[in-house]
């Protein structure tokens, strides 16, 4: 173990049925540093954190912690805590109906009695020393989220943690609250606490961190000092694309002629309740475009605003040149817009219903309450799309939840195609499905576009977007920051635009 390191993880392995979540991952945390753990979805960040906090038990590898001699075993969150590892999650895991002081000391008392005065006094001292402006006897729920998070950190600090893990702590904070949190983090750093910071905000990483460890597909990409890793390099490492390997992407999309086709959908200063900055957007007949950006950059929120899936707070919308109001999904559906949601399980399937009912659902709703499809008609529709999309299901009566992920996705795709939309939004249609199906869906997108459908395609995989889209809108930190088309559609420019900041 090195002199200054607080924590060393060596050659960590962890698999789940069918997935190798972590393969030979090393991680080192030194005294008094803020260390960013970066990676796209599924890179293994959270698995690594969970191994460290005892939620998952590692399959192989060693963990060393300063002051605990040789390799330690972490088999439960309790053991992690005893070793001085504390975690503050994105969702506050405190008790909102208890006071601040109670939250700091809950579960740590000795004996049955509680000395309230003593507890409040100690809590007050602790909060003062950390510069957190809150009274110990205040109810936690009445504090802002930022303060709640800081109370969680105070609790962790008071439990003499040497390793503090902050898992996406800033995602629900506004800018001034983030500043406060960073102040606290810097303060803790001075005291020698090692902080592991998980976030998807690049700006924040560069503002507060000293080192970055990048994971990809469950493997370690590398550990870097922050000065030596420019943003664009970081993005390229996270996405796994070297900066120069742009040449091998064959761009076989026919050049899309902008001016010739009419605009199907246009939005001006569209904004929703989900915290995206107002954006302008338009799509023409037969066009395939896409929103790109890192996870959490706001690309899904944009299309959700277009479909009216989130509360639309401002903006003007035109469909086929006519100004319309789209406030709820049914409005969008009536104007020929279809939306395949990102989270298939939560927003896509109706688990216990049959494949047939899942396919006809959207069209049935569009058609109206008093005009149900006959069972025969519904079966005919279902059979048509089962054949068209090659859905593998025992019968139309099979509940959709018993299908594989890829086939569930095809059923949902079939549901929206059945409504014969003019404008189809696909948010991560290929996530978590096998390669064959992925290619099928990409081909289908191009075929539908050639038949005149306008499509917005979102994918975490840049290759996929390059293969299908003729125009890419780049999002960063919930803001639309660029538009790429034609020759600009290369891995390099995309990554540069995603990274933004100091890439020049």
């Amino acid at each position: 173990m090195q002199e200054k390191s607080l924590l060393e993880m060596r050659g960590i392995y962890k698999s789940f049925p069918g997935v190798k979540a972590l393969r030979n991952v090393d991680f080192t945390l030194r005294e008094g540093e803020i260390h960013a753990l970066m990676g796209e979805n599924g890179a293994g960040k959270s698995t690594l954190i969970k191994v460290l906090t005892g939620v998952h038990v590692k399959d192989g590898g060693d963990i060393f912690i300063k002051g605990h001699g040789g390799a330690v075993q972490i088999r439960s969150p309790q053991e992690a805590q005893n070793l001085g590892i504390s975690t503050v999650y994105q969702e506050i895991s405190l008790c909102p109906n208890l006071s601040v002081a109670e939250n700091i000391f809950i579960g740590r008392g000795k004996g049955p009695a509680v000395n309230w005065r003593e507890m409040n006094k100690k809590a007050g001292e602790l909060l003062d020393s950390l510069g957190i402006a809150v009274k110990p006897n205040q109810q936690l729920a009445s504090c802002s989220i930022a303060v709640q998070q800081m109370v969680a950190i105070a609790r962790a600090v008071d439990m003499e943690c040497s390793v503090l893990i902050l898992d996406e702590p800033t995602s629900s904070l506004d800018e001034s609250e983030v500043e406060k949190l960073f102040g606290l983090m810097r303060d803790l750093k001075k005291r020698g606490v090692g902080i592991i910071f998980v976030t998807h905000f690049l700006d924040q990483v560069y503002e507060v961190c000293d080192r970055i460890t990048v994971l990809r597909d469950g493997q370690l990409v590398g550990e870097y000092e922050i000065e030596k890793l420019p943003r664009v390099q970081l993005v390229s490492k996270m996405l796994g694309k070297e900066l120069d390997d742009m040449a091998d992407i064959k761009n076989d999309i026919p050049q899309y002629d902008e001016a010739r086709n009419k605009i199907v959908y246009e939005a001006e200063n569209l904004c929703s309740s989900e915290g995206i900055k107002p954006f302008n957007f338009r799509i023409r007949k037969g066009e395939v475009n896409g929103f790109t950006g890192l996870l959490g950059s706001g690309r899904s929120e944009c299309v959700r605003a277009i479909f009216g899936a989130d509360k639309v707070t401002s903006g003007k919308v035109w469909v086929d040149g006519k100004q319309v109001k789209i406030n709820k999904p049914i409005d969008a559906m009536k104007h020929g817009i279809a939306y395949l949601a990102e989270d298939r399980k939560r927003d896509g399937i109706v688990g216990d219903l049959s494949v047939r009912d899942n396919i006809i659902l959207a069209l049935q709703v569009k058609k109206g309450f008093f005009r149900p499809f006959s069972k025969a008609q519904a079966t005919k529709f279902a059979d048509e799309y089962i054949k068209l999309l090659d859905i593998k299901t025992a019968s139309v009566n099979t509940p959709i939840k018993s299908l594989s992920g890829g086939n569930q996705q095809k059923v949902i795709l079939g549901r929206w195609l059945l409504t014969h939309p003019n404008y189809l939004i696909l948010d991560e249609p290929t996530r978590g499905i096998d390669v064959g199906t992925k290619v099928d869906i990409q081909k289908l997108v191009l075929k539908l576009a050639s038949e005149g459908m306008s499509i917005t395609f979102i994918s975490s995989e840049t290759d996929e977007m390059l293969r299908t889209c003729s125009r890419l809108l780049v999002m960063r930190d919930r803001k639309l920051v660029g538009e790429l088309k034609g020759d600009q559609l290369t891995q390099n420019t995309i990554m540069n635009t995603i990274a933004g900041g100091e890439q020049k």
Binding site: I330, M333, V350, L353, L361, Q364, R415
Partner: protein, 364 residues
């Protein structure tokens, strides 16, 4: 060989039957019937008699089951929809029946609690009670769908207050309707030997099946009950769908209320339809519908309601004292519910699957 195939098909039919939802209430009904048949075959005897007016009427245990099971079966229809859409139950239906029955009597009797003739046509009284009961349902529905209160907590309000409101509607008097046409709804239509409540229930079933066939209510209710967010993204308004189910249950309450007050041509605020909400919920559960919402089968619930009435009648027949009745009922209910739990059904189905190859070997 042929023996073998026959066995296989037989047991696969049995396995398939186990998976069918309606199997549970059907099996319960058969067991109850068999039990009665063994204990006393005369249980099933139906006799044709005449009342004091000389009109023919049938009597016997079976007749009393289809008679007294009517209100429960009608409520089970609405309760099934409420359960499926809002993933919870309405426990205020008994109190709401008291309210709606009280309204019927209030309209029929006017200010005088024992009028010599009706103050309004029965149909008017019934329609007004329908609106009142639907308003009760709407009240529950708004609490559940707009304010997102747990159904049982939301309906607890009316459950607590309902019977007092019912008494208040009639100034705490007990109106009595002397007009004999009013007792038809809870009794017999002159010349027809089968009790009227059975026909009313039948009419309700026909209406709900027509509604389910000619509207998309069934699909929407199930979709909302299974996945609210997906339903919303597919253009549905989950709050509205839930609200509608509560209003439909309100309508069922009004019909049940009319039958209840017609039976005695009066009302007893504290005992009318007492504990019927629990029986209605039980009917839904017995029908194999998940009390956590989602997919539903109305026929199974209706059958479940009659099974409960069958059970009650059986217990009466064996001269179980009426205050001991709930205890006996509870024992049977535990048995039925445990048997119908998916985990047990899966075990039974697995047992049959295990028996099948064993038998095939013996034959082979």
């Amino acid at each position: 060989m042929s023996q073998n195939t026959k066995n296989n098909t037989a047991s696969s039919i049995i396995t398939a039957m186990f998976r069918k939802q309606i199997f549970i209430p059907l099996a319960a009904l058969l067991i109850l019937a068999l039990f009665n048949f063994i204990m006393d075959p005369s249980f099933f005897k139906i006799t044709l008699g005449h009342n004091s007016n000389g009109d023919p009427l049938l009597s016997g245990n079976i007749i009393s089951i289809i008679d007294y099971g009517s209100e429960l079966a009608i409520l089970a229809v609405g309760m099934t929809l409420v359960t499926a859409a809002s993933r919870g139950q309405d426990i205020s239906v008994g109190a709401a029946i008291a309210i709606s029955g009280s309204v019927v009597l209030r309209v029929l009797c006017g200010t005088n609690s024992r009028p010599d003739e009706l103050q309004a046509p029965i149909i008017v009284a019934f329609i007004i009670s329908c609106f009142v009961a639907m308003a009760c349902g709407a009240f529950n529905g708004v609490l559940v769908s707009v304010f997102k209160i747990q159904p049982m907590v939301a309906t607890l309000i009316l459950f607590t207050a309902g019977r007092s409101i019912a008494a208040w509607i009639n100034n705490n008097e007990l109106p009595v309707v002397t007009d004999s046409t009013f007792s038809v709804f809870g009794g017999y239509i002159p010349g027809i030997p089968i009790p009227t409540p059975f026909f009313i229930a039948l009419a309700c079933f026909v209406v709900i099946f027509l509604v389910l066939k000619f509207t998309t209510l069934g699909l929407y209710v199930q979709s909302v009950g299974i996945n609210e967010e997906t339903s919303r993204l597919n253009g549905l308004n989950p709050a509205l769908i839930k609200f509608i189910t509560y209003v439909i249950l309100g309508l069922c309450v009004a019909v049940a209320g009319l039958i209840k007050v017609s039976r005695i041509s009066s009302i007893n605020y504290s005992v009318v339809a007492k504990d019927i909400e629990m029986d209605a919920i039980l009917a839904v559960a017995l029908g194999g519908n998940a009390l956590g919402g989602g997919k539903f089968n109305i026929s199974a619930s209706i059958l479940g309601a009659y099974v409960i009435q069958f059970l009650t009648t059986t217990l009466y027949k064996f001269q179980v004292q009426s205050d001991a009745l709930p205890a006996y009922k509870a024992v049977v209910v535990i048995l039925l519910v445990v048997l119908s739990a998916p985990i047990v059904r899966e075990k039974i189905a697995a047992l049959f699957r295990k028996l099948r190859p064993a038998r095939a070997e013996q034959n082979g």
